[in-house]
Symmetry: C2
DNA sequence: TATTGTTATACTCTATAACTATA
DNA sequence: TATAGTTATAGAGTATAACAATA
């Protein structure tokens, strides 16, 4: 049931979360662009740097249609950052896996994603822990 | 200066913020889609529901090129949600303004955007206030 | 028959550059 | 000459539907 009137603090928290989202998005896109990647390409490369995945699984992680993943992986493959491997267990499946260069790019991407690391540095240990606990409960 | 090694709590907070961002994005797109709007269209309509704006200002708010705004406003105008008005003070300028139907749609959009209202309801007043203060400091 | 990945198609968002009408 | 908005163009992401290969 949505429309219970929200108190002022809740309204402000929602606005602040909107600000966090906007800032996160901007920094993510900038970090991706600094490696000549789009946001979607950066997300897929980051996913694959954790473990190779079937095309279908990538679509599920991205919450998009499988047909889209074909193009994104095509472009990453053209760049030499990702390759398609056969799945020994099921010949219908293609596993997308990062190349060595792809892994390096993913690592540099992670490093340039400073969001909330710098701002969080201004908080004390206790405050960071409190923030972690509150966010955990919010997402539970 | 990015790469100072982050402590585990900071790492988890960054991950949690990523989760918040993903959830916010999903809910925003869903809310927009439930009104047959794309995310960009919903953002512009929401902006204009606060006050009519010159095309140029919309582009600045969206952090995109002015040429993109033409298409987005075109589509909102075709839907009858927005109209372009001349600016009496400068005949080069076109003010985009919501129609009555556009205002109604923007209001319903706001209502269906429950993000963080429901989850925040599970927090006490003190916790919400603490969260607000921590987010404020993070974004400062 | 069902599933995996792809192709074909169409729409939206995006940036760049060139154009117009004002200022 | 500078600015506001548009148009033209091209690339990328998205969904839908139809297809080939495999299960």
């Amino acid at each position: 049931m949505p429309s219970r009137r929200a108190d002022p603090v809740t309204v402000e928290v929602v606005e602040l979360i909107g600000d966090v989202v906007a800032r996160y998005h901007t920094e993510y896109e900038d970090a991706a662009a600094s490696h000549q990647l789009t946001g979607a390409q950066a997300r897929v490369l980051t996913l694959l740097s954790l473990e190779p995945l079937p095309m279908r699984r990538i679509a599920q992680k991205l919450r998009c249609e499988p047909s889209n993943v074909t193009g994104i992986v095509d472009r990453l493959e053209t760049r030499g950052l990702v390759e398609r491997r056969p799945d020994p267990a099921d010949r219908r499946v293609k596993l997308a896996a990062p190349t060595d260069e792809g892994l390096q790019t993913a690592e540099r991407l992670r490093e340039s994603l400073d969001f909330a690391r710098e701002p969080l540095a201004g908080l004390s240990d206790e405050e960071r822990t409190a923030l972690r606990d509150l966010l955990r409960r919010m997402l539970a």
